[in-house]
Amino acid sequence: MTKPIGSAATTQQPAYSARDTLARLLVRWEWLLVVLIIAVAVLNTRLSPFFLRTNNLLRTTSDFMEIGIMMLPMVFIIVTGNIDLSIASTLGLSASFMGWLHIMGVNIWLAATAALLVGALAGLLNGVLIARLRLPALVVTLGTFSFYRGLAYALLGDQAARGYPPAFTSLGQGTLGRTRIPVALLIFVLLALAFGLVLNRMTFGRYLYVIGNNEEASRFSGVPTVRIKIAMYVLSGLMAALAGLILAARFGSTRPDIGTGLELTVITVTVLGGISIFGGSGTMIGAILALLLIGILRFGMGLVNIQGQVQDIVIGSLLILSILLPRLAGQLSAIRSWRGATLGKIGLALLVTVLFGWFFFWSRTLIPAK
């Protein structure tokens, strides 16, 4: 993407400046996430005495490892100012391909390796279209979002692949030796270390920031932008495939709709972690902290029996607030006068909100719960 989506509203200032100013005040964005995590953890312990049990905490992590694994390359991609909407579909395609091979009677480890290869190829296609043909990442990955998921359906149709051997399902369900550490958690931690090191310590990682800040300038300074962008999409496909294997192993079966909608969670976590959607800034630590925050937040809401879909209200609000709040101070001070028209608009907005809220709760009672 040469021009980020939505720059119309924000062309006056670079996207990261408002947050950076606040970040300087708060020392860092990451500290805010740490404070939030501690607050949610304290709240959770109050809600349930079982929260702090090591067993519970460790078991909960396995619900987020697929998201975490896909988040790592997503950090790379968003740092360069690009996006990948197709990861959940790649996950579905790879897992379905493995399931299809399994039904055909192919050895499960061979099938899993082939699935990883399919994931990498899916990423390669994205990368070539985006980097080589210079097509907008949003449209390309929107297209492959449908295409890859469609292929998953074409492979499995309405059937499900099941009956994976225990050695394979331990990838998603098992723990490490005699300890209680889930295998998936270990895989994530190792990968996170690797991705973090690449981003912070290696030329490849530093180039990602350079591309995100000014792709044209980086190309003229000899950064191999095309190769780097293709590589990061291949990584994204590969990690999506790995997440697909772990998810299939955890469920013990594969349906073609496996992992539908996960791309939104992954992007939410990444942006919440302080990675600017316009590229050029953000840290791996921030993304991992955001993953932790979403994880324990969902766990806590589960403890008080809030439905998964209703939890999305909180997660969605958190995503918007994380961008809105740091900007709000600047936006408010940009209002020149506080008289007349401005107050009128604010009053109208409040009135509409109250009316809508009233209508929402009133009409909700019109049909009693079944």
Partner: protein, 338 residues
């Protein structure tokens, strides 16, 4: 891109050429597709089947036009599916409780509710400065969550909905089904709005160059707010039509519809970087998507392949687009040198 920025006028001209070419291109593609399918299944080229395709794409056309207006301002509205789902559910609750409510009132109610939800997006994006993709990604989750909270996980089915409400989409005026008539009215209104009103032209200006628009005295924030509000309004209308046509409101109504609307816009030649796109193109884009779906079913290709075909079509559309644009650019710069 550098050359294009230096010559915005040339760029606009090229885009115009691509759009013209695109509209003709889609038509050719549709005719070719129709010819091939008709050879295999004569049932394709009948008035009844044509009516079926139109019925199936009516709602898509309405929402794709809303999506296009947003994309023209360099934005994107990912929350359209959730707004449709929420308004469909809320209006269904109301008409079940008040069966005597006239259909048009239900439609106005849906549009008002959608307008509020769209305005919320608009406030976040234009006044709050939240990037569109983030704001609408957030409200996609929030509004969908509200559907669950509102309905307590239940749904409204056909037997609960009053016949008058179901007739809203099913009925017809002079042989023309209401839902197609509704889509035609929306197409005409949006066409007039984008082409002949000052605000409509401002939408293009804001999209092609926000800074220049600001210097030209256009209230950019207000225009951006407006497109999201209009998007919500049209989604509210679509929500009512959806509930009436499918005679149900479910918690997952229109989930994933945002992608189809973006697909119809992009296939129809709306530039994802903003500034250009035509109503005719979007209608043709939606029609092409509908025709392909219809053709795949008639030819007997498994419905499981339809999603893959749709994805492939989006990819083809952008690849062909960029190839033509690049060719034209080279041609134009070559001509200049001479």
């Amino acid at each position: 891109m550098g050359k294009m920025d230096m010559a915005p006028r040339l760029r606009a001209g090229l885009l115009q050429a691509v759009i013209k070419f695109r509209e003709a291109g889609i038509l050719v593609f549709i005719v070719a597709l129709a010819a091939v399918v008709t050879l295999r299944t004569p049932a394709f080229l009948t008035l009844d089947n044509f009516r079926d395709i139109l019925l199936n794409i009516s709602i898509l056309v309405i929402v794709a036009l809303a999506q296009s207006m947003v994309i023209i301002t360099r934005g994107v509205d990912l929350s359209v599916g959730s707004i449709i789902g929420l308004t469909a559910m809320m209006v269904s609750f109301v008409v079940v409780a008040f069966p005597a409510l006239p259909g048009p009132v239900a439609m106005v109610l849906g549009m008002l509710l959608g307008m509020v939800l769209g305005s919320f997006n608009g406030v976040l994006i234009s006044f709050g400065g939240v990037p569109p993709i983030i704001a609408t990604l957030g409200t996609l989750s929030i509004y969908r969550g509200l559907v669950f909270w509102y309905s307590r996980g239940t749904w409204v089915n056909a037997s609960q909905l009053p016949p008058g409400f179901r007739q809203l989409a099913k009925g017809s005026v002079l042989l023309l089904p209401n839902i197609i008539l509704g889509a035609i009215i929306v197409v005409a209104a949006v066409y007039y709005f984008l082409r002949y009103t000052r605000t409509g032209r401002d939408i293009y200006t804001v999209g092609s160059n926000p800074d220049a628009a600001r210097f030209a005295g256009i209230r950019v924030q207000r225009v951006i707010f407006l497109v999201y509000m209009l998007s919500g309004l049209l989604c509210g209308l679509a929500g009512v039509l959806w509930a009436s046509r499918f005679e149900a409101a479910q918690t997952n109504t229109a989930a994933g519809f945002e992608l189809q609307t973006v697909a119809a816009s992009v296939v129809g030649g709306v530039n994802i970087f903003g500034g250009s796109g035509s109503v005719l193109g979007v209608v043709l884009g939606a029609f092409l998507l509908g025709t392909i779906q219809n053709a795949l079913t008639l030819v007997g290709i498994s419905p499981f392949w339809q999603l893959a075909a749709q994805g492939l079509l989006i990819l083809l559309a952008v690849i062909v687009d960029s190839a033509i644009l690049r060719r034209l650019q080279r041609f134009a710069s070559g001509a200049q040198r001479v």
